[in-house]
Symmetry: C2
Subunit: 230 residues, 2 copies
């Protein structure tokens, strides 16, 4: 009604309107010992000083949202080429007591093996730590809700996409893959049924290698077929 910007018939300039701050936050997940873990940073300043938060930062004016998220991700983990997908945009007034902040949230899945060497190598100024996803400390802002939403999204996408593979190395055993599914769904799966279902989709192929680890039969290693996304 009285919002000038909503009437395309009028001449207006974007500069005439107040502009909120826009940040990108990233929910970064990995899988260690069959358990999903989430990277959090401890806040040093008001508001929520001392509390944990998901990493994030302001976007630059000349970069895409996804680029800002990738940049954030690399700063926190030291790793490039990580699976990343937009989750949701949170922008309630008051979610940040400082000023109006709209945050575009992404989530990232990363193979834990890629983290071992370089975690936090690029930036040791902030305290960062991996927490078990299902046992988190109190979180700043609306970050608890953001993480809940991420879990719901992950569970949904697990059913009809190959998103689960993003938590694994390029070659993996079927037991490792099953552990991914169990960690995301947070309940056990039947081994025979799981294998039959995965193999029937015809997206995996055996490598000529096996994985020997511990005093038991070696496991067949698989990889994605060439056409599968990675």
């Amino acid at each position: 009604m009285s919002q000038p910007a909503t009437d395309p018939a009028k001449t207006y300039r974007a500069e005439d309107f107040p502009r909120p701050s826009v940040t990108v936050d990233v929910v970064i997940l990995t899988l260690v010992e069959g358990e999903l873990r989430l990277l959090l940073v401890r806040r040093r300043n008001w508001p929520f000083a001392g509390m944990w938060a998901i990493p994030g930062g302001f976007i630059n004016m000349d970069e895409s949202l996804e680029h800002a998220a990738l940049r954030e991700l690399e700063e926190e983990t030291g790793v490039r080429d990580i699976f990343l997908e937009q989750l949701y945009t949170f922008g309630d007034p008051g979610r940040d007591p400082r000023t109006r902040v709209i945050t575009v949230v992404y989530y990232a899945l990363i193979d834990a093996a890629r983290l071992n060497v370089s975690v936090r190598a690029a930036d040791d100024a902030a305290e960062a730590e991996w927490f078990p996803l299902y046992h988190l400390p109190d979180l700043a802002f609306d970050h608890a809700a953001i993480i809940d939403y991420t879990i719901q999204r992950l569970r949904g996408k697990l059913e009809y996409t190959t998103i689960g593979f993003q938590l694994l190395a390029p070659e993996f055993t079927l037991s490792e893959l099953q552990a991914v599914y169990e960690a995301i769904r947070n309940r056990p799966l039947d081994k025979r049924n799981f294998r039959r279902k995965i193999l029937s989709t015809d997206i995996l192929e055996k490598t000529d290698a096996t994985k020997m680890e511990g005093p038991h039969r070696p496991a067949q290693l698989y990889r994605f077929k060439a056409d599968a996304a990675r």
Copy 2:
């Protein structure tokens, strides 16, 4: 790396960072004669003057994103209490040649019967028109991609939610409901299978009314059970 905002250890103020413009755009869909239709407004100014675009506007500093979308929706359709859901946030630099504009896109589904009286009553300054979703004119900005994305989302959600009902009046026939599903999926469904499947979910109940329309057998009217969302 050199992004100060990404380091929570440093003191910073949101005001120190450049702020993009943020808009909310709304993909507004309805169903008329078994066909999905989309509301577009014609642009009068540069850029894309004369082309059609989905309605949108700037957010106010003290309203939520959803509130901005509802406001926009009411301005365009004159109707309140419409189903609305966030779709995705588009923010590539260069998507708007004027300045950096990030748009949070929502989509809305509305029963066509609620539109008959009041369409455009609230605002006759801009030229607005309903187009068949599968036969659209050339669109401004990245709006064609936004609409494609909406269709994909709708098709996905149709399978595991009750989203389809949002295009219908509170009481409806099973044929009308089937028409919704067929329009979104853009292909026909078997009548017997459709009815069995819908009724087996146990979310509908018969009303004590029927709908008589045309020279044929009247149709049973159904409504949602009390616990179903609407």
